[in-house]
Symmetry: C2
Subunit: 270 residues, 2 copies
């Protein structure tokens, strides 16, 4: 997606802009899950230019967990390929501010913190492929239960770049075998939002000791007739940031994503 200038669907762009106005005004200040399910949402990472090249390289080397859907110009809070009026300083419901790898603040606006040397990265989010699966009738347990997806640090190492590296983090959805097969087919069409699963079946094979104790998110039950199905997860770059400890960093707060004007189906590869 990076660098391309997709044509926005006019109605989608109107809805995206309206949602961002509500967020900007403080009216929508929490999670974006379930808000405009058909619009692409994104993870945000903002870094000083000194760290930006290595992080870009990290994403390039690890496209499954870090699928870039846009990278801003140095100093710019605009990402016109994702929304014309979009302003990354104000248009997310909630931000996290990090210094030397430590969380130092959580706030609804980062206008005061923005600098001329910052580079913004927007990374695809599993909401898009969950939309695609649900559109084809696959029930997703954590969505049904209104909880957060289960996420796990694995024994699989990502490819390092400069100071960035660390384990692959995966999200897990329990599915019956026939749904798991269908889910491989559906999510393979969405490489820009993590693509096909990276594993299914025995969690121990990727270093997960206890499926009932996720490292992030909420636990969900895996029923006897189901397989746990694992996808590369957008929390992976957060683990890489914790390892790299850049001097300064802004991210979205968990679940408080960037809402774009793109429709999920525009991310399909075929």
């Amino acid at each position: 997606m990076q660098g391309t200038a997709p044509t926005f669907d006019a109605e989608a762009a109107r809805r995206g802009a309206a949602l961002r106005r509500r967020i900007r005004s403080g009216e929508l200040a929490q999670h974006t899950s379930g808000v405009a399910d058909d619009l692409v949402q994104g993870n945000l990472v903002v870094l000083p230019a000194t760290a930006a090249h290595d992080f870009l390289l990290y994403c390039q080397r690890n496209p499954r967990p870090c699928p870039l859907i846009a990278v801003g110009e140095v100093g710019s809070a605009r990402v016109p390929t994702l929304g014309e009026d979009l302003d990354l300083r104000t248009d997310l419901p909630r931000y996290r501010v990090w210094r030397d790898g430590e969380l130092v603040d959580e706030r609804g606006d980062v206008g005061e913190l923005w600098r001329d040397d910052l580079v913004a990265f927007v990374i695809g989010c599993s909401f898009s492929f969950e939309w695609a699966m649900r559109a084809e009738g696959i029930r997703i347990r954590h969505v049904d239960e209104g909880s957060n997806v289960s996420m796990y640090r694995t024994s699989i190492a990502t490819h390092g770049a400069g100071a960035f590296g660390g384990p692959l983090v995966v999200s897990m959805r329990p599915l019956a075998a026939s749904d798991a097969i269908r889910a491989v087919q559906i999510t393979s069409r969405f490489p820009a939002v993590h693509g096909a699963p990276v594993h299914l079946g025995d969690p121990a094979l990727i270093g997960i000791r206890d499926i009932a104790r996720p490292d992030y998110g909420d636990a969900v039950k895996v029923l006897p007739h189901e397989l746990p199905v694992f996808w590369a997860c957008g929390v992976t770059p957060q683990a890489a940031l914790q390892q790299a400890r850049p001097k300064f960093c802004i991210t979205h707060a968990p679940g408080a994503m960037l809402i774009t004007d793109l429709l999920n189906h525009q991310l399909a590869s075929n």
Copy 2:
């Protein structure tokens, strides 16, 4: 595929015709496995016109186990969409002859038995999708071991048509999870040769009691890090024929398939 007239690759057509000549002369009288891996091979079922409509309907209702790649005209042993010179009476290495559902003969030529009321069905074969998987570097154990694929009768019923019906028969290949995911992607592109798997993981969920005791073919080991992956199998119509017990029927002998002039990649849906 049925009814279409694909353009043959000239070199492939030459090889297909040469192989059929060797079979016709009796020089090649056994299995066709490993012979011209890149050419489409087919299962053969020949029935009197009185049973043909129901069998055609059975295939139409069960496209995963019974993907028709060609149906001949009544009385004709020619299938020009699969090879110009192709003669179904002589061009398979070995035939089985059935009367009232009982195997009564096995022979290298059925010219004397051919009748004006016979209808020939050619059904896609898993050799084609195994070729596609191997072309992408996936090792298939029974191929490596030089044995026949493991096949099982399942608790899944096919959709009946007239006297034809019975259980879905599946073939099984043990694969590591990452290969299983890739195999779903690869075989999904080949609906004309059984397409995506129908199941993976726990065999008991589809009524298979003991994975080490296949109902047809040879047993292969499933290693601890592997999942058994199950595809709909071309033996399903044979089970349907045993149930229907038509007065007369000719099939290929197991492993002695029809070699066509089509290249496997010509069966890909995308």
